[in-house]
């Protein structure tokens, strides 16, 4: 996970490097999840749901573009959103492992959405007060979007959890399979610690309470048990991903890479 070789960022080293890393991390989360949701197109359980999932994917893609563009701008090495999305390799992406997990079935997809959109809402609500104007502005818009995403995930968690025996089992399985990846959302490495101290980033640990409360309330109403396994220590923020990431990037990037420098 290195920006080395792309020249010194403008306006002073470590603080700027931190900001670039943070914006990239948020952008990568959104990009990878948008990519996963794009896979549902024409495959959703009902037409109305196809529209809903694509809507969410489009919002996330918009967030990714804003954040990655900003990261490139701050970095000052001439990289734009496409350079960052299409020309970095597995070890340079800093998304959390949760978002790169495959869609599996609708239950697992909703579980992933519940965990992640609940986290994103806490995150963006906190970031509205960021000392960085751009992040604050992105967060203000994104918070409204992810409130909607969280509602969607919540509505479906209730319907699947308290629907049929089969849906309950599938939802429960999804929640349990993805549970180990939730922990990474609340970890703080040095980058985030420094930025949080400066009022730029949200301290991930501070997002935990709101997340827990919403999750507990939702799962209880959905007659689902909260998983109680251990959380895996996060590795995504330092660019160490699951084996899924390589395939995801191959699909996302191959055409762009096949035609270096081309316009589309």
């Amino acid at each position: 996970m290195t920006t080395e070789g792309f020249g010194e960022p403008q306006g002073g080293g470590p603080r700027t490097r931190d900001l670039v890393a943070y914006a990239q991390r948020l952008g990568d989360d959104a990009l990878v999840l948008a990519q996963r949701l794009g896979e549902w197109s024409s495959r959703a359980p009902e037409l109305e749901e196809d529209v809903a999932l694509t809507n969410i994917g489009l919002d996330l893609l918009g967030q990714a573009r804003a954040l990655l563009s900003y990261a490139g701008e701050v970095e000052g090495a001439g990289r734009d959103e496409d350079d960052l999305a299409y020309l970095r390799e597995e070890r340079e992406f800093t998304n959390c492992l949760l978002v790169e997990q495959p869609n599996d079935d609708f239950g697992a997809t909703i579980a992933r959405q519940l965990y992640f959109s609940t986290y994103q809402l806490e995150l963006y609500q906190a970031l509205r007060g960021s000392a960085d104007q751009t992040l604050a502005a992105v967060a203000a818009k994104a918070a409204k979007e992810v409130a909607y995403h969280r509602d969607h995930a919540t509505m479906w968690t209730l319907r699947l959890g308290d629907g049929t025996e089969e849906s309950h089992a599938r939802m429960r399985d999804g929640l349990e399979r993805l549970w180990p990846y939730a922990g990474e959302l609340f970890e703080a490495d040095e980058v985030v610690q420094r930025l949080a101290a400066a009022g730029t980033a949200a301290d991930p640990a501070s997002l935990r309470d709101g997340w827990d409360r919403h999750l507990d309330a939702t799962l209880a109403e959905a007659t689902l048990a909260r998983p109680d396994g251990r959380w895996l220590p996060g590795t995504g923020r330092r660019g160490v991903h699951s084996e899924h990431m390589g395939y995801l990037l191959a699909e996302l990037q191959y055409l762009h890479r096949l035609h270096p420098g081309a316009r589309w």
Binding site: G38, A44, L47, G163, L255, W264
Partner: protein, 310 residues
Amino acid sequence: MDGQASFDAAIATDQRIEPRDWMPEAYRRTLVRQIAQHAHSEIIGMQPEGNWITRAPSLRRKAILMAKVQDEAGHGLYLYSAAETLGVSRDQLMDLLHAGKQKYSSIFNYPAVTWADMGAIGWLVDGAAIMNQVPLCRCSYGPYARAMIRICKEESFHQRQGFEILHTLSRGSEAQHAMAQDAVDRWWWPSLMMFGPPDDQSAHTAQSMAWNIKRHTNDELRQKFVDMCVPQAEVLGLTLPDPDLRWNEATRHWDFGPVDWDELARVIKGDGPANRKRMEHKLRAHAEGAWVREAAASYAAKRRDREAAA
């Protein structure tokens, strides 16, 4: 006035027929079939383009493609909505599609092989669809006409996007230009087939026109389409794969070569290159989603029971 007389008067004065009006059974049947197949086409049409969402070569193109495919789902919804005013349910129509008893536009039985196909589909397939659709905004049946007005409003950006993709490719690298030309070479003739068989072989045209469902003949629209595309191809810097394309000074139209109607017949019958894939994909999504639909229905029923008991 009895029902038939009211209906005839409405048609004669180009008024709209609305859901509760008396209508000939054949008129109702024709509309159900036409609207349903139009809806099915939108849904199946999501596949060739949807497949490229994860591989779009820029984030902007990815976003535009996602929005376009989402629009198509929406269009399907508007059309099923219109069909349902005629006394059928969406489920019934889906069953007919899945059983192969109702069709969708055969254009979607061609594979989207390269990124440039996104451009060709937008320019040619959506272009042809628009040509068919604009007159439908004045269709005699109210709900269908209103759905079409909504659709046409959203459709114009689709064709522009396709044109823009091809324009950028054509002026890009040699490889990109070749990709664009190859896509146009493959989609041109199938697009002409979208207007249906020639007038002298089209059984339904006369009746549909008498009922103000159809406003122009197949050949009229096909000619209009060719006339529109030829200058556009020139702007694109791409050629059309028809050696017989020639300006006719007398008629002020572009004469074009013979369409392979055998190919159209084969593809309609089910022998198109991607027929099976399209149906399997649809059937699988439907089957895999059954437990989800049931869960939502079950939850709703449980809630109703709880509220009733409270």
